[in-house]
């Protein structure tokens, strides 16, 4: 199986039906994407496939071949954080931060689609991301700030 992740080509020995999350975490050692539910409803495993947010836990790796996959590890460019990361670092909303990677990826995707979302639009777009520590209000504020940055 050949996949392209964060601008690099990889060849891994897995069946096409393997979930992209397992492929990333176990076979490529990219553990920034997290397992939270395995059924596409918590957002902890969110990655971008061709710029579109996808739940990697329910995405067969076979279906992501020949596409640009972007994970949390690929956001930082030459030591510079993505502005969503910068704003979240500054706003410091997280507690255990297990949800953070998924939140960042969903927010990046949202801002790609809509560079100035309202708070309601942010909440709608992020609805699929669970933060069990319930730090939601500060995350919304931070994303709104990133949008205006």
């Amino acid at each position: 199986m050949n996949i392209r992740v964060n601008g690099k080509n990889y060849s891994i020995e897995v069946s096409g039906s393997t979930s992209l999350l397992v492929a990333l975490r176990e076979h490529l050692g990219l553990t920034g994407s997290k397992y939270g539910c395995g059924e596409g409803v918590c957002g902890a495993c969110t990655v971008l496939i061709g710029g579109v947010p996808a739940r990697s836990c329910i995405t067969p790796v076979g279906s992501a071949q020949n596409k640009e996959i972007m994970t949390i590890e690929g956001l930082e460019q030459n030591g510079k954080l993505h502005r969503v990361q910068e704003v979240l670092l500054e706003a410091d909303p997280f507690q255990c931060a297990y949800c953070a990677s998924g939140m960042v990826m969903s927010a990046v995707a949202l801002l790609e689609r809509n560079s100035s979302p309202s708070k309601e639009e942010i909440k709608d777009a992020m609805h699929g991301n669970v933060c069990r520590c319930c730090t939601y209000p500060d995350i919304v504020e931070a994303i709104a700030k990133a949008a205006n940055a």
Binding site: L89, D92, A97, Y98, C134
Partner: protein
């Protein structure tokens, strides 16, 4: 002196077995190398829970086994703090670092905090009960101040000047008059000095704080938003294999037989069987999963209750009563009263569902075992392993990487034992990560409970009698803050059919719910304002203050629109004072919309305002889930909603506007905030729904009926 056992509540069942024998400390400097250190003993920590003065100890001889934490400056100049407390998202790594940095006059970046590694840190019973800030924080503060004084004295004797002419700042000791200075690192070099904490060490008063009291960012924050932080579930050791465990189909089932032939036939798979325990190990998690799938097992089930009958079940099985408060004669008042308010409240089992499920990595080297695990009690897990493998504690090392939350739900070490069993069998390191379904089904729950409340209020608005019985859910928060002359308060333990244990604020989530509803209803029945009614029965100024602040900020006396209601509740838990008001709208369809939340919180001096605010909000919103819709559904010993698709947790779209008022009290020692703020939300919403619709909802979750009242 209050023993630490006394502060435990019966619903913390998982803590009961714990044996409290600390591991004997190895020689301090053998462990950390040279340098200068200050150690604090268990009695310092226990004494800190009381306000009494610490005994001044002359002796510098330590009984190793009583050391509770220490701070050390190593020869490289790093300041290293060793504590058995752990980080599960409360951000105590940050707040404890701030306190130490403040007293040592260094930046937070100069400090490494070693937390929850049983081979390195002193024994600690666990991170729960909001005890880190009230207990560990002041003691580390004093230790850091002591260490600062030791360093100043070292410089003084080196320069042969008086210590009072010197001061510490920016990692140096200096003398202003001579402009001499020496770094902490230089002072630590070539030394092996360990001092006891100096009880008289001068502490920096909060009004002079520069680092403590500030919103310092989460330590290692960058690692978390870049995905670099390694949670236990992310760890990989050389040669590590993946393990999975076969689960019973229902609670209370036992294994009759299992056919593992097909599983064993899969390349690279090893099946490990030991009594009812069947696990599989493989080089990759997928084939381990497949192997598990191929096992054909027959189980013998036992009759188990279902959710529909659980409340009767619990009440019928309550055998004993533990009296928590008994004053005056309630029966006499009830007999003489025309109107007695009697209500029954039900709370369902709910799940912690930490976003990182339980995980552990185990590695054997000869007869030595090392386990990495996300747990709130690394030493508790060490004891579990000691018991399970009948081995000496000295040979078990438990390491706790900062973990994906707990909320009281990770006090136990199931995955540690599972991974260690499998690892032992295959002779390689093994990682076990529970699936979401396993985490729901096989962790433990916040207890379900039945509460019977009975009270009388006289015509002048005085509550004259209060009787309160809690069945199964627990005794935390069962005491009332209100002044009531006649009281009978009892807790009735029950052998719960579902595995249960600690939860944020323990049973206070249930007891405060029932109490605050009961108080509300008495006020309403007499047409008295519920805020004034509460204040009339309160003596505690701090509670009154949060209640008044909340009511004023909320606009409690302002008129409301039709179909809307206001509700309020207050409480005191684990040193924190909270009051919370909500406005709700109840549609004709019965749909409930929480429009806004206002809450004032006070827990003494604030150490990190941003993180405190975050804890308070997180607590309230997690409580919103338990108030409105979180519920473990089960039938015949099977949980039937073990997934985030079916067990609803709060999400972005559930969150109403929320306003938090943090009251800073520099004159009062700081306490924790991870629990108290959760107690007000459920009763406040229930009281608001009653106000809006006239309907009393006395069961949690309030909207179990498909989101409607």
């Amino acid at each position: 002196m209050k023993k630490s056992e006394d502060i435990l509540y019966p619903e913390q069942y998982e803590l009961y077995e714990s044996i409290q024998k600390p591991v004997t400390r190895r020689n301090f400097f053998r462990l950390v190398g040279g340098g200068v250190g200050v150690a604090l003993t268990v009695s310092d920590v226990l004494a800190s829970t009381l306000t009494s003065d610490l005994k001044n100890r002359e002796s510098e001889n330590f009984d190793d086994s009583t050391i509770a934490a220490w701070i050390h400056i190593n020869e490289a100049g790093r300041i290293v703090v060793y504590t058995g407390k752990v980080e599960v998202g409360q951000n105590i790594r940050t707040s404890l670092t701030q306190i130490v940095a403040e007293e040592l006059r260094v930046s937070v970046n100069d400090i490494d905090m070693i937390m929850g590694d049983t081979s390195l840190v002193p024994y600690d019973r666990g991170t729960f009960g909001s005890l880190t800030t009230p207990n560990m924080s002041p003691i580390l503060r004093k230790a850091a101040a002591s260490l600062r004084e030791v360093l100043v004295e070292l410089a003084a004797s080196q320069w042969k000047v008086s210590a009072s002419s010197l001061r510490a700042e920016g990692g140096k000791v200096m003398q202003a008059s001579s402009r001499k200075s020496v770094t902490y690192q230089q002072l630590a070099q070539g030394k092996k000095i360990l001092k006891p904490i100096n009880d008289k060490a001068a502490l920096t008063p909060p009004e002079k704080w520069k680092i403590a009291g500030q919103s310092v960012q989460k330590i290692n924050g960058r690692d978390f938003i870049t995905g670099k932080h390694q949670y236990t579930c992310d760890m990989v050791l050389p040669g590590m294999m993946y393990g999975k465990i076969l689960r019973a189909p229902a609670y209370g089932a036992s294994l009759v037989s299992a056919d593992t032939q097909k599983a064993k036939a899969i390349t690279g798979v090893t099946v490990v069987q030991d009594g009812d325990f069947i696990g599989v190990v493989s080089n990759d998690s997928q084939s381990a999963e497949r192997a598990l799938w191929e096992i054909r097992a027959e189980w013998k089930t036992t009759p188990q209750p279902s959710r529909e009958v659980i409340f009767n079940y619990l009440k019928e099985r309550a055998s004993s009563a533990r009296t928590e408060s008994s004053k005056g004669d309630v029966d006499k008042v009830f007999a003489a009263s025309k109107e007695v308010l009697m209500q029954t409240f039900h709370v369902n089992y709910i799940a912690h569902a930490p976003l990182e499920p339980r995980a552990a990595v185990a590695q054997w080297e000869g007869d030595k075992l090392t386990v990495w695990i996300g747990t709130q009690r690394p030493f508790g897990v060490q004891e579990e392993l000691e018991r399970h493998f009948r081995m000496s504690k000295e040979n078990v090392r438990v390491i706790m990487p900062d973990t994906g939350s707990g909320y009281g739900g990770k006090h136990t070490g199931e995955t540690a034992i599972e991974a260690a069993r499998l690892s032992k069998a295959v002779g390689k390191p093994v990682k076990v990560v529970w699936t979401r379904e396993e985490e729901f089904k096989w962790a433990y729950f916040r207890p379900a409970g039945v509460i019977d409340a009975k009270s009388v209020v006289d015509a002048t608005g005085n509550v004259t009698a209060w009787e309160f019985h809690n069945y199964n859910s627990g005794a935390a928060g069962i005491q009332i803050p209100y002044e009531i002359e006649n009281q009978k308060i009892q807790f009735h333990p029950v052998d719960s059919p579902l595995r249960q244990g600690s939860y944020r604020a323990l049973a206070a989530t249930a007891n405060v719910f029932a109490r605050e509803c009961q108080m509300n209803d008495m006020a309403v029945s007499l047409n008295i304002d519920p805020v004034a009614f509460r204040i009339k029965h309160l003596k505690d100024d701090r509670l009154i203050k949060v209640l008044e602040t909340t009511a004023n900020t909320f606009g409690w006396t302002k008129p409301k629109q039709k179909g809307r209601g206001y509700g309020i509740a207050c409480g005191f838990e684990k040193g924190g004072y909270t009051a919370l008001a909500v406005e709700v709208e109840v549609a004709a369809s019965g749909a409930v919309n929480v429009l806004r939340i206002v809450s004032a919180f006070e827990c003494g001096k604030i150490i990190n305002p941003r993180h405190l605010r975050s804890q308070v909000i997180g607590c309230i919103l997690q409580g919103l889930g338990g108030a409105l819709f979180e519920m473990v559904d089960f039938k015949d010993g099977k949980m039937i909603n073990p997934s985030f698709a079916n067990y609803r947790v709060p999400r972005f779209s559930d969150i109403p506007p929320i306003e938090i008022i943090l009251i800073d009290r520099p004159d009062i020692r700081s306490t924790g905030a991870g629990e108290a703020p959760i107690v007000g939300i459920a009763p406040a919403i229930r009281n608001a729904i009653y106000d809006a619709s006239g309907k009393k909802l006395n069961n949690l979750p309030l909207l179990a009926n498909r989101g409607r009242i």
